[in-house]
Amino acid sequence: MSVIGQRPRPAAKTGGAPPARGDEPAPRRRARGSGWWPYLLIAPTVLGTAALLLVPLLRGLLISVQDFKLRELVNGDAKFVGLDNYGTLLGDPRFWEVVRRTFLFMAVNVVLIVGVGTLVALLIERLGRFGRTAVLSGLVLAWGMPVVAATTVFQWMFHSEYGVVNWALTSLGFDSFDRYAWFANGTAAFAIVVFLVVWQSVPFAAITLYAGLTTVPRELHEAARLDGASAFQTFRTITFPMLRPLFMLVICLEVIWTFRAFVQIWVITQGGPGDATTILPVYAVQTALSAQRYDLGTAASMITVLLMSSVLVIYFRQLYRQEAEL
């Protein structure tokens, strides 16, 4: 985590941020809080984080600069090879193909999740009491569905012979979908994984954005309407700028969570058919555990961590603007 080392920026510097909150009230209990109590209270958290997060991260870094295959796993005594593993990865066209696919996967997912999430949030805001409760319950139900359970259901729904999706498409007249094997075709498998991830992620985006929408003063919208603004114009000039920080947060979180699609991909396709659904985390595990190139797999993981921490930096800048009293 490169972020930890950086000194936090003073929160006061956020010039353009939404409504300035007054300075934090002077901490009255400064005198009482000092001493060693707070350090004792956070000690277990710090220890846990060090042992289960920091050490694995460092260990990963170490393995990624070693020659670490099955023999070294069994015997120990791994030799240092510098950046050779990274060189091997970066020189492998298959790796670049995976990186390109990871970004494509991320982009498609995030655009769909934020786009659909925004539309759903706007819809909920405009619904009556009954409709709102119904749609919110539906969203919560989809959200609460465990990932593995949802994955098995999608496999069943897209089953080539008895799947309800093929039946529906065929009944609608798309005869080419009769017994269509979704998971045998690369693009189709990729599309299903995207569909599954979007289905699981839209509830969070929609509910968060809806919560944000309710904080936008109604008068602003009415004023805009009186001025003759269309719904789209109102959204672009009033709603979106006011909720920009929230949108940024949701986008950052969804980018990071896209890597959690590891489970869905692993359970449905294990990265296949061919390489069609292999994204970086899947590639890393495949390389390490199936090909027993622990060094290469870990190097790929470290590259993933690096990519994710760049997103984290953006996330933290946004968080600072939101959390005045961090």
């Binding site: 209270l41 008895y162 990071i256």
Partner: protein, 292 residues
């Protein structure tokens, strides 16, 4: 995808008629969103309840007219179902309790005390909340192998504890911030120790927050698949429900009724928690900004 969502109406139309005209459109969009959200869940339940003959047909029955509990019986009678259920429960409860105790201490220090390094500590918690767990599987696998912790449930508990801990701290800190410190001070003036004041005054007020966070932690740990799959290798008796579910599907590949019944049994606790806590789910997490 949900393509039927309402598009912004073209500009220029007079306001009142446009609004009235769009009401049916809105309702239609709401129905589409609702169906998209709930259909997979419904399909899981209904497949699990259908007789085998109704499942594998060329024409799926959207509404099950005849019901059966056979698939549930098959799933529950499958090898090790109860064992894996127990494993999952022990793991999850262990991780959640550990996280609650550790997080409560840390959240109290952050919300109630001023000390050097407090900001840095919070920054660490926020960073840990976003930790790239999917990228740490290999190093953790190797570390656990070196220390003989592979194939052991307590080792898995530790990972789950760490995954749920940062979120628990953030949410509990927010809850603590809403309890006025004056209450605590008053209790101390009345002769309570600091710990006594905490136990008698704050703890009861924190109960809803503790409930909400522990349920979120419960769901995270209950659903976790990747670590359970890669850290439990030889000791098949230490597997958890999500891993069992995927292997169950491979073993009984053609028995979709039983697979859907097994998925239902696995999903019910999480679904129930989400539905019962709908209000907390939709408002509480926004501050902690973490998905279950």
């Amino acid at each position: 995808m949900t393509t039927a969502l309402p598009r912004p109406a073209p500009a220029g139309a007079p306001v009142p008629p446009r609004r009235r005209r769009r009401r049916p459109l809105r309702s239609a969009a709401a129905v589409v969103v609702f169906v998209f959200c709930t259909f997979p869940v419904y399909w899981m339940f209904s497949t699990a309840l259908k007789p085998a003959g109704d499942i594998q047909t060329d024409e799926p029955k959207l509404v099950p007219f005849s019901w059966t509990f056979d698939h549930f019986r098959t799933a529950m009678a499958a090898d090790g179902f109860w064992l894996f259920w127990r494993n999952s429960l022990l793991l999850t409860v262990g991780a959640v309790l550990l996280a609650l105790v550790v997080a409560l201490a840390a959240a109290f220090a952050v919300a109630r005390m001023r000390w050097r390094g407090r900001r840095q500590f919070l920054l660490m918690v926020f960073a840990a909340q976003m930790a790239p767990w999917e990228s740490l599987i290999i190093p953790i696998y190797i570390m656990y192998r070196d220390t003989d912790l592979l194939d052991r449930l307590p080792a898995l508990t530790l990972v789950y504890f760490m995954i749920t801990l940062p979120f628990t701290i953030v949410v509990l800190r927010n809850f603590l911030a809403t309890v006025p410190p004056e209450l605590e001070e008053a209790a101390q003036v009345d002769g309570c120790t600091r710990l006594g004041a905490f136990r008698r005054v704050i703890f009861p007020l924190l109960a809803p927050g503790l409930m909400a966070t522990s349920l979120f932690g419960f769901i995270t740990a209950w659903n976790e698949f990747a670590y359970a799959n890669f850290l439990i290798i030889n000791n098949q008796d230490a597997r958890t429900l999500p891993v069992w579910l995927t292997s169950f599907q491979n073993t009984f590949g053609t028995d979709w009724g039983a697979t859907m019944a097994a998925s239902t049994l696995f999903a019910i606790p999480a679904l129930l928690i989400f539905l019962l806590l709908q209000r907390q789910v939709t408002s509480g997490f926004a501050s902690g900004a973490v998905k279950g």
